[in-house]
């Protein structure tokens, strides 16, 4: 599908975007312009989309939750402001799992489908961001990751997804899921676009005191480290393809080294305890009379009013609020929440030692992209465990990048490269070098007229 006319015929609003602002009306016109724009003119009209948990002034922002329906922020998130100030044109808000709660993009009222094959999931939670990047040629997606919400959908949709060091991009205007884990990041079709955008949007912000003013290093590593525990238990075909990829890297001059980190599997329970504890407090502000959906029966007593408003949360959100409230309870706090924070501390120390020597490489997901019907067979705990490869860098705030390394049965496969804090550009540059020897495939190239 290469023409605008053809796209318009086939486009089904809602599949990829939750909503598009009035600029959609001008989409064709803009795309005609983009057809004449080269990469060098990236800042003069390039489109960008924004995950629906990031505020855009006067554009409905719901984090894909019914409870926020009708919320129109009166301000732009810092990242949106910086994109606009650098000449990017806002296209629309992208679909996601409700509040970021999901790995497959299915915890949403309007579920995005994988542009490679609509029978398959896009991955989540930044599902729309990845799908849009796989469809639109000249487009940057501003996404967000808490535990793998950029890497996973980027891998399933065959695009490049970058999650920076925690604290390097301002989160002012982000609808919080988990304050000590949330990171705004970028998806694009090429690593050089990510590098360009990252330089424009990173840096301190007076509105976000957790956004740190620190220079990025660019320590190139020729050593690739495979952590044994992260590459065991993979799907057989994934393992085979991944090892072939590792061989290719060896042929390109990288040294491969194996290391062991036996308790890295504890990253998953630690992550979910912290994420759920923080989410359960963050969601308490959606009470039914501020932000979004209104319950106008003010004769109800506050607890009843609040409980009724929360009926609008989806099942996964309810599950996480219940679990998050439990692990924060005074009687068990030391057993769960405090313990998880200590395990995070241990993991940061151990991974720092490994990352001092090289980059950590793994597949993004231990499984192949699932079909929609396959996801129904998994229990919530089984879904959480599929995040085993994306959680360690997210829990520890290490920058990481997901990029296509192969294609299997017509679907892309993604690898994930991790580096030490603030060495963000080194992993982007690694992917740029990879792109010299490997071409990414896209089924759609909207924005190209022949």
């Amino acid at each position: 599908m290469n023409s605008i006319e053809e796209f318009n015929k086939k486009q089904r609003p809602g599949d990829y975007y939750i909503k598009l602002n009035s600029e959609l009306v001008k989409l064709n016109e803009k795309l005609n312009i983009f057809n004449t724009i080269s990469q060098e003119n990236i800042s003069s009209g390039f489109l960008f989309s924004v995950k629906d948990n990031i505020c855009v002034k006067n554009v409905e922002t719901t984090a894909s939750s019914k409870i926020l329906k009708g919320y129109f922020p009166p301000f732009n998130a810092t990242v949106v402001e910086r994109m606009k100030n650098n000449g990017f044109s806002f296209l629309g808000k992208t679909n996601m799992d409700e509040f970021g709660f999901g790995s497959f993009g299915i915890n949403s009222e309007h579920i995005a489908k994988n542009p490679f094959d609509e029978r398959y999931v896009t991955g989540g939670s930044s599902s729309g961001a990845a799908a849009a990047t796989a469809i639109l040629k000249y487009h940057i997606a501003i996404a967000e990751s808490t535990g793998g919400s950029i890497s996973t959908p980027a891998a399933f949709c065959g695009v490049v997804g970058f999650t920076p060091t925690y604290g390097s991009i301002s989160r002012y205007g982000l609808i919080d899921y988990s304050n000590s884990l949330d990171k705004i990041g970028i998806m694009a079709r090429k690593s050089e676009d990510i590098k360009y955008v990252y330089e424009k949007i990173r840096g301190p912000d007076s509105h976000d005191t957790t956004c740190v003013d620190k220079k990025c290093t660019d320590t190139d590593k020729k050593k690739i480290i495979l952590i044994d525990q992260l590459i065991t238990g993979l799907d057989v075909e994934i393992e085979k393809e991944f090892l072939l990829f590792v061989k290719k890297l060896e042929n390109l001059g990288y040294t491969i080294e194996h290391r062991s980190l036996p308790f890295i599997d504890k990253a998953i329970p630690s992550y979910y305890i912290i994420a759920m504890a923080e989410a359960s407090t963050n969601l308490a502000k959606y009470t039914g009379f501020k932000y979004g959906l209104k319950n106008n029966d003010f004769s109800q007593q506050y607890n009843t009013f609040f409980t009724n408003a929360r009926e609008n949360l989806g099942p996964e959100a309810k599950r996480r609020v219940v679990l998050g409230t439990f692990v924060r309870s005074a009687s068990v706090k030391n057993l769960y929440y405090s313990k998880a924070l200590k395990v995070r501390s241990l993991l940061i120390n151990e991974l720092n030692k490994i990352l001092a020597d090289g980059f950590i490489l793994s597949p993004v997901m231990p499984i192949k992209t699932p079909r929609f019907e396959d996801t129904n067979k998994l229990s919530p705990l089984e879904v959480y465990k599929t995040d085993m490869l994306t959680i360690p860098p997210n829990l520890c705030g290490f920058p990481h990048i997901s990029f296509p390394y192969s294609y299997l049965h017509g679907m892309p496969l993604g690898a994930q490269l991790v580096t030490k804090h603030w060495n963000d550009t080194a992993i982007i540059d690694f992917v740029s070098k990879w792109e010299l020897s490997f071409n990414y495939d896209f089924k759609y190239n909207l924005g190209v007229l022949r």
Partner: protein, 90 residues
């Protein structure tokens, strides 16, 4: 988890579950808490808690009221009466 304990938890969370949700979420919660218990095997006696993944400078925002030009834009997200936000009874 006993029903009584789970019901108390739901009350604290202000979450109401229908019959189907109740049994499935209760089972999930039990299974996930058992999984969380696996953290007990990690020795953390001499470890401090990492509240953030990186060191965040102890700098807080200045406590200065900020001028906002468009007050109606803020208030349009809520029901108001004479510039007061209307809410339920406490």
């Amino acid at each position: 988890m006993e029903d009584k304990e789970f019901n108390r938890l739901l009350k604290i969370c202000r979450i109401k579950l229908n019959e189907n949700e109740y049994s499935s979420i209760k089972n999930d919660v039990e299974e996930i808490i058992n999984y969380f218990d696996s953290l007990k095997s990690v020795k953390t006696d001499e470890t401090t808690e990492a509240f953030h993944p990186i060191l965040i400078p102890e700098k807080t925002a200045e406590d200065i009221p900020e001028e906002f030009d468009d007050i109606p834009a803020i208030l349009k997200n809520t029901k108001t009466y004479r510039f007061y936000v209307v809410g339920p009874e406490l």
